[in-house]
Amino acid sequence: MSRFGFRLEPRSNLPKWLPWAVPVGSFLAALLVGAIVLFATGQNALSVYGRILDRAFLSEGAFTGTLISATPLLFTGLCAAVAFRIGFFNIGGEGQFVMGAIFGSGIALKLGADAPGILSVSAMVIFGAIGGGLWGLIPGILKAKFRTNEIITSLMLNYVAIVIATYLIFDSNSFWRELTGSGVVFPKGKILPTGSWWPNLDFGSIIVPFGFVLGMVIAGWLYVLQRKTRFGFEMRVVGGAPTTARYAGMKPARIVVAVAALSGALAGLGGAADIGNFRHVLDPKGLQQSGFGYAGIVVAALARLNPVAVVFVAVLLGGITNAGYALRGPDFPSGLVGVLQGLILFCTLGGEVLARYRITRSGRTPVGASVLEAS
């Protein structure tokens, strides 16, 4: 319509290097824009970036802190990546994460202090996955059966999940709630028996949480699942061309339900890992504030839905979060950390658009003209 506007045209040919160059270039662009913002607020950009690098990755114990921040993002990132790959927009990672935490902490408390650690930890892994999986199954089945919009249903279930967790700790005398000692005065969850605390693997200078290792293994497994198996093949067809999938004898609805459950299970595992590795207690307020489920969508987008890339992006974003804690202070408002994180996201997603489309000046093409309309 507009005669002098700009238009986005899909690129027909993607050069091989482009998918790699664009995220890197976008990241550098974000740093550049960030430098301008920092300069405007009277900070020395170079020294800020230096401190981020230092606090995220280099200094004593920094990388361990980064991995701790990265672990939940890794799981919720995989949750979003696997679902988005088939065009199932699961925004419910948040709720599935919480359900995983409820189920995982529940089984650990049930097994009690006498259970062997290996049993408790494995049970938490399994129950966390089941809790999240069931929560993910709901929007999956609703979509397959009634064609409801999964973005809405999965999002709504986030609120339900957090309300359930809040009820368990604040509004009832549930099994999860500490009813003795200080718990009588201040509502809080029971501390998990130490035997069920997830181990940390010690590599000398770096300590790697077991949850992170588990996440890496699962990322690798997902990669194999998607690239090498029959199920993965069907996932790829359903994701790109659902009509074709049906035509070729596949059952897209079944695949959607299966992937919805898988996606939820991954977030649920994240919830169990968060409790098992770090919190050791069901803490609804903490879960709600962290917003790992939504951050996972960002991780998956930056990783271009590639499960292996999710590991690296989770570490990168975990590092920035981790450094953010350290940067915060009287001379460095916490809002500025958010600005930097937002800029990185904005530039990378923007770069994604430029990688796929080229910008052209729209000339005087006939209004609404399309070659295919000629009939």
């Binding site: 090498k228 790829r236 074709t244 035509y247 070729a248 070659v371 000629a374 009939s375």
Partner: protein, 514 residues
């Protein structure tokens, strides 16, 4: 009567080209005040392009237009509306949650009745128009509450509300039941008598002959003739534009081989089905295909061909009636069952239904057999075997692409069709169902695809060829069935094929003397 009056709208020597296609070439056409003027032609004859030019959607590359004798140059649809030309689209442009009156007022920019948005006055005016043209509709009803026929009335009132003097109807009866169509015909004539001019786009001969005062026939983008003829067989010849000689000349492409025709592989009996809109789409189709023969289904698009092939592929549920492949009955509601019975299907929507555009050529070729060994070692797929099959088939079917790992979305139309045929032929099918095989392909690719179909028949496959291109059907088929409004009106052996009679049948005329 008023021969001296300038035509309401006229186009002179209009040419419109799109990359690779000449949609209109030297089209001349005029509509008098007070007449119903039909544009008749097969699919792709240029009817829609011409109406898009008349309504300002496209600008002609060459030629000019006049409205009431004054030359005009429409820059946009707005200009055409201002000049009093309105279009009733085949696909409605209405907002379901708005009322009838709101939809009609929408986009008028200002309210011609009161100067501000006075819904009451708009509703009154709508009711007035609705009454004077016998287009009953409640101005306060919401669009989603209305039937398709009522929605069309809203579209018509919308155009009348803007005080259009020339109304263009694009295949208006396509969405209507026979009774509604008849009623619409009366409405069109009433509007013409009230001094408006009607352009009526259609391919249904009977309707055109009974409703239109004059007919302009378009063929391959050219205006062939304007006539006040209302003899359907004369119109059919003009529309199809071939005689029996040219048929036999093009038919030499087929191998003379009734000997290779074997047993019945596909048997359709009394098949009924409803279409997407819930209207009857198939109304008792019976058809057999024997091994080694090509059976062509001719007909204008939208007469049930899509529903027929989709049922055969398992993509759509059938109503009553039976389908047997090699004697075995085809179940409803599964796309795997036809594949298992050996029904191959090359859809018309090749990219959207036949292929996964982001997957590689090799993967697309394995789309129907990747589950079984040697392509899978459950639960894994064997990429190397899939790729090897891709390379073999690419060579065998002469697919031109950098490699078997090229995504199919990068392929040209001809190569896309070759990939599909390669996959569908590689599974040793009993029946090959193919819809509009050469649509959108260049001449060279068309020849290749036709040769592949002949090869398929020679190898003993029963081919069901569904095409809107009559030339193609005549050139390839051993037998030809003509489909109209969900029925097979007649079936011919190629030797007895009479293009004029086929043209009549395509337009729904059973009786030549009609």
């Amino acid at each position: 009567m008023k021969a001296a009056t300038a035509p309401a709208v006229a186009a002179f020597h209009v040419t419109k080209k799109f990359p690779g296609v000449i949609a209109n070439e030297d089209v001349t056409f005029d509509v008098r005040v007070g007449e119903v003027h039909a544009l008749l032609g097969e699919n792709g004859a240029g009817k829609t392009t011409l109406s898009n030019i008349l309504t300002g959607l496209y600008r002609p590359d060459e030629g000019w237009m006049e409205v009431a004798g004054i030359a005009v140059d429409f820059q946009s649809p707005r200009d055409a509306i201002a000049a009093g030309i309105g279009m009733v689209h085949q696909h409605f442009r209405l907002i379901p949650t708005f009322s009838v009156a709101e939809n009609i007022a929408l986009g008028t920019g200002h309210d011609p009745v009161g100067g501000r948005f006075d819904l009451k006055k708009i509703e009154e005016r709508v009711a007035e128009i609705s009454e004077s043209f016998d287009l009953p509709v409640d101005p306060r009803a919401k669009i989603w509450q209305l039937s398709v026929g009522e929605q069309q009335r809203v579209e018509i009132i919308k155009v009348l509300y803007r005080d259009a003097r020339v109304l263009i109807f694009d295949e208006p009866t396509a969405v209507l039941s026979p009774l509604e169509s008849e009623r619409l015909g009366v409405t069109l004539q009433t509007m013409a008598r009230s001094g408006r001019s009607i352009v009526f786009i259609s391919h249904k001969l009977g309707e055109v002959a009974s409703i239109a005062d004059r007919v302009t026939v378009l063929r391959h983008g050219r205006s062939v003739e304007t006539t006040s003829e209302n003899d359907v067989s004369a119109l059919a010849s003009l529309m199809v534009g071939r005689d029996v000689e040219s048929v036999t000349r093009s038919a030499h492409a087929i191998v003379e081989s009734s000997s290779r025709v074997g047993s019945v592989v596909l048997e359709i009996e009394e098949l009924h089905a409803v279409g997407d809109r819930g209207l009857k789409a198939l109304d008792g189709v019976s058809l057999t295909v024997r091994s080694g023969e090509i059976v062509g289904v001719a007909g204008v698009a939208g007469n049930g061909q899509r529903e027929l092939v989709e049922i055969l592929a398992g993509l759509r549920r059938k109503g009553s009636g039976s389908i047997r492949v090699d004697g075995e009955s085809l179940e409803n509601g599964s796309t795997r069952h036809p594949i298992r019975l050996g029904v191959s299907y090359v859809p018309q929507d090749r990219m959207g239904t036949g292929l996964a555009p982001d997957l590689t050529i090799a993967e697309n070729m394995a789309l129907k057999n990747f589950r079984r060994p040697p392509f899978a070692r459950p639960p894994f797929i064997r990429q190397s075997v899939i790729d090897a099959q891709g390379r073999d088939l690419m060579e065998q079917f002469d697919v031109r692409a950098p490699s078997e790992t090229t995504p199919t979305r990068r392929l040209s139309g001809g190569n896309v069709q070759k990939v599909l045929l390669a996959r569908e032929m590689s599974g040793d099918p009993r029946v090959l169902v193919i819809a509009s095989p050469s649509q959108g392909l260049d001449v060279g690719a068309v020849a290749t695809v036709h040769q592949l179909l002949i090869d398929a028949a020679e190898s003993g496959v029963g081919v069901l060829l569904v095409s809107e291109d009559l030339d193609e059907v005549l050139a390839l088929s051993n037998r030809i069935a003509v489909m109209y409004e969900g029925r097979i009106l007649d079936t011919f052996d190629r030797a007895d094929a009479d293009a004029q009679r086929i043209g009549l049948l395509m337009g729904g005329q059973l009786d030549v003397s009609a």
